[in-house]
Amino acid sequence: MRDLKNMQTTEAPTKWMRFRVSLLGVVFFVLLLGVFGRAWNLQVNQKVRLKGFAEDQYVRAMETPAKRGEIVDRRGVKLASSVDVDSVWVDPSMLPDTRDAAKKLGKVLGLDWKELYERFEKARRFAWIKRQVSDGEAARVKALGLPGIGYAKEPRRFYPQRELAAHVIGLVGTDSHGLDGLELSFEQELTGESVRREGFRDAKGRKLFTNGVEDTQSSNGASLTLTIDSTLQYATERALEKAVVDAKATAGMAVVLDPRTGEILSLANWPRFNPNSPKGSDGEAFRDRAVTDAFEPGSTFKAFVIASALEQKFITESTEFDCEKGRWAVGRHVVHDTHPHGLLTPRGILQVSSNIGAAKVAQKLGREKLVETYRNFGFGERFGLGLPGEGRGQIPFPKADIALATQSFGQGISATALQIAAGYAALANDGVLMKPYLVSKVIDADGLVLIDNKPTQIRRVVSAKTAKAVVAMLETVVETGGTATKARMDEYRVAGKTGTAQKVDPIARGYSDKRIASFVGMVPAEDPRAVILIVIDEPKTDVYGGLVAAPAFKEIALQMMPHVGAPKSREMPMVAEKPEKSSKPEKSAVTAGIEKLEQMDTVTEDVAAEGAVRVPDVKGLAGRAAVAQLLTAALEPHLAGSGRVVSQKPAAGSLVEKGTRITVELAGQLPASPR
């Protein structure tokens, strides 16, 4: 045996060799120990972290993105909705030639192919090609017939009314999360709850081991119903735009409230933006000034001072004040009136807007009472409207005599447009301050009402008698001799007040020559259906609220009163002015939409005269659809249960008053819609 002979020439292991082999053995054991130590570190110390990473890939990706809820106006007109749009992705590992595929896809989708190619090379199993493509683009990609291409439905936010109420609604980012406005503050409700499924997905994105039935409905976001009336909102925005442009002003705001309920019927700002393509607008355009910005309001505050002094019997309606011929020294300061006046009653002080008169009334009231008055009218506090960045304003205690004087005519304090409108609404509502609100209902995808806001009294500020007396005084403001004759209407009685405030110069820390001009009014004065506030920031042509803001008030009021069915205050000879809309030649999508809406409304008005409507048949509808129908018919839906409508009360077809509560009973689960 040759190999055995070979072996004879070899030697047995020496001691030295034994040592070296044993040493190597020790090294191997140490290495194994090291491996075990690393495993301990990963599986004991880092377990939670690593498990979290792992679950991220197979659990979170299983979440079905909920469809974002709609935002509709008080009549169900869609202001924001979500539509499913295709997004194209690819599994690059399935492409036979990534370079070629990138070139083809780049050409079809108008993308840089090199960038696509890089993305394909970097990704293993998944890469977006283009998100939120048009139907045409999707079809063109399909026509290429490439393997490994997938289409994912992604919801995209769409604002059918474009700029309309954009500041209130806000907007979302590309990932459909709210960035501003109600979209931000109701983010949680609108987003809904993405349902985490009991199951996993594999790396190819397929669902595995899914337990339970698909439940597509409950995961979708809730919808918001606003108190906003789009028709009115449109009229408000148009009137405000005109006023701002005519006065060559930098900005403007307008608020329309229903004084009886506190509902915000419209809320407008200028400049504005289109939430569908927000990139084109500058930062100023996004600001919801009417809610966020506190400014020195000026003479509009005089009405609160006089109401409070009357209420607390410091003065009577016939108390006369010496208005010092337009110049009155308070300490080292001098208070001026625009025009010199002699003796004035409270009515006169309001009519001609005498600063000296108001200051003298405030003197009678005293420092504490003045501050208390303003606070009672809702100033210095937020209403909690639910919009981001709501301002609260400042009502500082007037230590100096001059501060007491200036605060009586709205300088040295600050308030938001919303607060001023709400304060006047309290006067219009027989002295009761209502909490302003914007969102009337939040209804989830099953039709269940999550939030149901009702008119809320904050407090009685003054007695009905005092309130009525002040309103009567304010009617003289628009009559001959008043500061706002331009707000006068033939058909409706108007009570209101102008304000022309000096703006604080933030750099020089004094008053600048810039002005904020405003007009706040209620109409019809005998039974106010609306409080309308117009604020024009830095007007250049004229500075007085009676000149630059009052016409916008009138324009809005004239369109609104027939729309809400307010009875005319005075019978008019049949020479009514032509509707203004025919004079506007340009017709944007918004205009068209609103005009259609206006026609729709007039039709409803015809059928159901005197504010009565026919109850629609909502049986068999899903909760959400039933709500929409009832709201469109100006009825108040009240839902019980979930599922589809099985009964309604009062019955379909019966004639009821507008705003009547319709109780709708729902039952049964909605059938899972096949997706």
Partner: protein, 390 residues
């Protein structure tokens, strides 16, 4: 010559068979879903691995029956065969390119990985050569240069595939065995230092190796790209925790972890069986190393010692490296987990080697007995431990 029935080390045999059995279970668990998805047969990889295990058992039995000593005669033929195969795999048509590397030799019906054969052939050759050269191993020109030259040829062939992991294995085996044979430490250290620039060039010149390094340095930063495998592997192992998710319940093998049944099978073990499973696996390797080296030390002649050491080194190097790669401790190499990973060439060659190790253990047992009772020796031709040359 009437040979007594040799007594193989039962513990070593149990550990090796335990590893193979464990491997079959894990290959099935790791591959079933992928196999079902891609090939429509969840048992596809298990079946092939079982066949390889059967062939491996046969090879193991043959190696035990023949005895390791006959391997001395096969040292050169095996080495030549390995070199021929390493060359053949580079020839287009004979070698199959998978993932940019020509590592498989396609013979009708089967595909062979020449590098796996080369590693075992290299161990046998080194053991033979070192045992033959005895004291001359200490000399630079006789003990060092020829081995280095041959290693250069093998490494060059492996790098042409390219197969960095096998190249490193071959060099590691050479250094370990030269060290045991008494080569001067200064030569070995010097060689390792001299190899560093070459290794650097090899890594830096190839973008995919560079990627592996960056992926290793920060797998999370490159999670979607080069660090994907390592990151997924870390997540798998970490998810396992102490006792694992349960056999077959791993989630990472749902296509998240590529090569779950081959190079990254350790990640599935960690995920499904947890730290306890890892401990079990490491324990089996520890037994193989302990009993293997014990057999090597008790071998009656240097060839057995070197061969035993070489085989143990091969197994432990691959095991430690593979597990370290899966846990992100060293960069990705492409080495299998011995006896566990799916792959016929590797399994058959390793089981054959285990057969040789067992054969060494058997003669070691008899050798040990001989030492205790020299009179009972029935192999006069064999030199005993006492017969060392002066």
């Amino acid at each position: 010559m009437s040979e007594r029935r040799p007594s193989y080390d039962p513990l070593l045999l149990t550990a090796v068979l335990g590893l193979v059995g464990f491997g079959l279970v894990m290959v099935y668990s790791a591959s079933a879903i992928t196999a079902q998805d891609k090939l429509g047969d969840s048992f596809f990889f298990l079946k092939r691995q079982a066949v390889a295990a059967g062939l491996g058992l046969f090879g193991m039995a043959v190696a035990m029956k023949l005895g390791y000593r006959r391997m001395a005669r096969l040292a050169y033929p095996l080495l030549v065969l390995a070199i021929i195969m390493l060359v053949a795999v580079l020839i287009p048509g004979l070698g199959t390119t998978v993932g940019g590397a020509k590592r498989w030799l396609r013979v009708p019906g089967v595909s062979i990985q020449p590098a796996e054969i080369a590693k075992v052939a290299w161990v046998i050759y080194l053991a033979y050569s070192l045992a033959k050269k005895r004291e001359k191993v200490k000399s630079f020109s006789i003990g060092f240069v020829p081995h280095l030259g041959l290693a250069g040829v093998l490494v060059a062939l492996c790098m042409l595939e390219p197969d960095f992991g096998s190249s490193v294995s071959l060099l590691f085996l050479m250094f370990v065995m030269l060290f045991a044979a008494g080569a001067r430490l200064s030569y070995i250290v010097g060689m390792v230092l001299a190899a560093i620039p070459f290794a650097y060039i090899a890594i830096a010149s190839s973008p995919y190796r560079m990627k592996r390094i960056t992926a290793f340095l920060d797998p999370w930063a490159n999670r979607q790209g080069s660090g994907y495998q390592v990151a997924e592997s870390l997540m798998s192992i970490g998810s396992g925790g102490l006792s694992g998710l349960g056999l077959g319940d791993g989630r990472q093998k749902l296509f998240f972890l590529p090569e779950a049944h081959t190079d990254f099978i350790f990640a599935i073990i960690g995920e499904e069986l947890g730290l306890l499973g890892v401990l079990f696996l490491i324990g089996l390797y520890a037994i193989v190393i302990w009993r293997g080296l014990r057999a090597a030390l008790n071998a009656s002649e240097a060839f057995g010692t070197y061969l035993g050491l070489g085989i143990v080194s091969l197994i432990s190097f691959q095991a430690v490296t593979n597990m370290a790669v899966a846990m992100g401790v060293v960069p990705t190499k492409g080495l299998t987990l011995p006896f566990i990973s799916y792959g016929g060439s590797s399994l058959i060659m390793l089981m054959g080697s285990a057969g040789l190790l067992l054969s060494i253990s058997a003669t070691a047992e008899t050798g040990a007995r001989r030492k205790a009772k020299p009179s009972r020796t029935d192999r006069p031709a064999m030199p005993s431990g006492a017969m060392e040359p002066a």
